[in-house]
């Protein structure tokens, strides 16, 4: 009797497994959320634009951004705060204090990482180095070789952040400096192909280090008419990147652009204009489930 019962039960379990009737159909899968806050091309806009009736009158300002970031941090557990470069240049704060206050405020707001824009060299690489030493956030770039400069060892190609259950890899790429920045400012910084480098490090992060989500901070620019490498090219010609947070072209996007990568997988590309007028918030949810099963997966960005 016992034996028969067991056989019957075993048979039922086997049948269930064979037909794919998993217990997860009865219970909700485990979920996790990642909040990505981002800025780009803040250009030393420490204070809001003056209220003089001009185009961006009254917009922006670090004090407003900081309080919004605080509010979001209180509501969300897993927050990453990132910047896509050109933190420097554009107001007298930079001319007079060489980026000191910009980095101080970003450290206070607990930025996790930033990539380096062309204007971040404007006070010279020595000044950038001096400010970077004071900063509590990482400078991330994988296509500038700083070996023969003071910045050697100061910039990481990527960094991994454990945010709750989710392992997030962040890498960074920068624009070609030749003819954009006087060489006397960037000195012996060597530029390498950003697509090749991003692909290499994104693979390390996703395949070797087991990151669930890979973000590329880019100061290449959103898109160009001329033949110049952009975030669109970066997205289309690489694998293993989930999100590109861009800069340089000061592009205001209503929502992230979706581009198919080298493997046909979707990459989200975003940029939030400039001057800290907008703080971007990407809210990414993750579902723990069997390899070929995901109940809530919906790759389209929802506004």
């Amino acid at each position: 009797m016992k034996r028969r019962t067991f056989i019957r039960q075993g048979g039922l379990v086997s049948f269930g497994l064979a037909t794919g009737l998993h217990h997860t159909d009865l219970y909700k899968p485990k979920m996790s959320t990642l909040t990505i806050l981002h800025t780009n091309d803040v250009h030393s806009r420490i204070e809001a634009f003056p209220k003089d009736g001009s185009r961006y009158s009254g917009l922006g300002g670090a004090a407003k951004r900081a309080s919004l970031i605080d509010k979001i941090r209180k509501e969300q557990d897993n927050v990453l705060l990132l910047d896509a470069g050109d933190m420097f240049q554009g107001t007298p704060y930079f001319n007079f204090f060489g980026g000191e206050l910009e980095f101080k405020l970003m450290s206070q707001m607990k930025y996790d990482a930033a990539t380096i824009g062309n204007h971040d060299f404007d006070a010279g690489i020595d000044t950038l180095h001096k400010q970077a030493k004071q900063a509590s956030f990482e400078l991330i770039n994988c296509n500038y070789d700083f070996s023969n400069t003071v910045m050697n060892g100061q910039v990481k190609p990527y960094k991994v952040y454990q945010k709750g259950d989710i392992k997030v890899g962040v890498l960074g790429v920068g624009i070609e400096l030749d003819s954009l920045v006087p060489q006397s400012l960037y000195k012996e910084t060597q530029y390498a192909d950003p697509i090749k480098q991003a692909n290499k490090y994104a693979q390390i992060l996703k395949q070797d280090m087991g990151c669930h989500y890979v973000i590329c901070l880019s100061h290449l620019g959103y898109k160009y008419k001329e033949n110049k490498v952009s975030d669109h090219d970066l997205a289309a010609q690489t694998s293993n990147i989930d999100l590109i947070l861009g800069g340089h072209t000061h592009t205001f996007l209503k929502k992230p652009t979706i581009i198919g990568n080298a493997n046909g997988k979707q990459v989200h590309v975003n940029q939030v204009g400039w001057a800290g007028i907008v703080l971007g918030q990407m809210q990414v949810s993750f579902e723990k489930n069997f390899k070929n099963k995901c109940v809530s997966c919906n790759p389209k960005v929802i506004k």
Binding site: I46, L68, N95, S285, K291
Partner: protein, 269 residues
């Protein structure tokens, strides 16, 4: 899985042939063994992974409704105090809105004329014209009204110094073609150029057609050093002056008390 159940029942039958207690012992062992096999099978075929499920996006505009962080304001305060004294001082007035535009604009004309005049004052040879890259003007519009020193810093935040390049007619035309390709750059008085099909067409300097001689052009060092696709200037004969363009604008505005200019057809397309 079905084959495992089958195997179990077969072993059960073998147990029947021996005696009851042995059969039960075998059964117990087999049960444990099979449960273990099941567990391994489940773990192996059904390992769970984290899927990126859904992305939602919000763009938060930092407008006047946003709350201000007192802590950040306090951090800015000592820096602001140092700056404000100097930057908020009104140095001139601007009677009309002066936009930045192509192929020619009042703002670009004023700036280029300031560079031209200062370069002529400093240079031993007469300057033919002054030009600067459009991208070097960092505000879209100088609004009419009071102009503070800080506004000039916004207009020209870069620490660009003055360079006079001494070039032949051929290099001059290479440069003007590059300018034409961009649809025109800010240029000083006495210069006229027509752009046709994104190329330089007719050029006159001081009313005269180009000839085979040396031209002296006042430029930001950024351009003279090859910036903004002007690599053809690298290595050309030059005189450098350790004076910042921004300081020229501040000094001129402070002295004149007025910032104004006219559209004169310096560049046409």
């Amino acid at each position: 899985m079905l084959s495992l159940s089958f195997l179990f029942s077969q072993i059960g039958r073998i147990g029947n042939l021996v005696n009851l207690s042995l059969r039960e012992r075998v059964l117990k062992h087999m049960r444990n063994y099979i449960l273990l096999l099941f567990s391994i099978a489940i773990l192996h075929s059904c390992t769970k992974v984290w899927h990126t499920a859904e992305s939602n996006y919000a763009a938060h505009q930092m407008d006047s409704t946003a709350v201000t962080s007192a802590l950040i304001k306090d951090m800015i305060a000592p820096y602001k105090e140092k700056l404000d004294g100097e930057m908020n001082s009104v140095i001139a007035t601007c009677p009309e809105d002066m936009p930045k535009d192509r192929p020619e604009s009042t703002l670009g004309n004023w700036m280029s004329d300031v560079i031209y005049d200062k370069a002529n004052e400093l240079s031993e040879v007469p300057i033919d014209f002054a030009m600067q890259n459009s991208g070097g003007i960092r505000i879209p519009l100088l609004r009419k009204g009071d102009i503070t020193k800080g506004k000039i810093f916004e207009l020209m935040p870069f620490d660009n110094a003055l360079v006079v390049v001494h070039v032949d007619q051929e290099l001059l035309l290479t440069f003007l073609d590059r300018v034409a390709r961009s649809g025109g750059w800010p240029v000083s008085k006495n210069f006229q150029m027509k752009i046709a099909n994104s190329k330089v067409d007719e050029v006159t300097i001081g009313g005269e057609m180009l000839t085979d001689r040396v031209y002296n052009i006042a430029l930001p060092d950024y351009i003279a050093n090859g910036g903004s696709d002007c690599k053809f200037f690298i290595g050309c004969e030059r005189t450098t002056y350790p004076v910042l363009l921004r300081d020229m604008f501040v000094d001129k505005a402070t002295a004149d008390k007025v910032i104004a200019s006219k559209i004169e057809g310096r560049i046409l397309r």
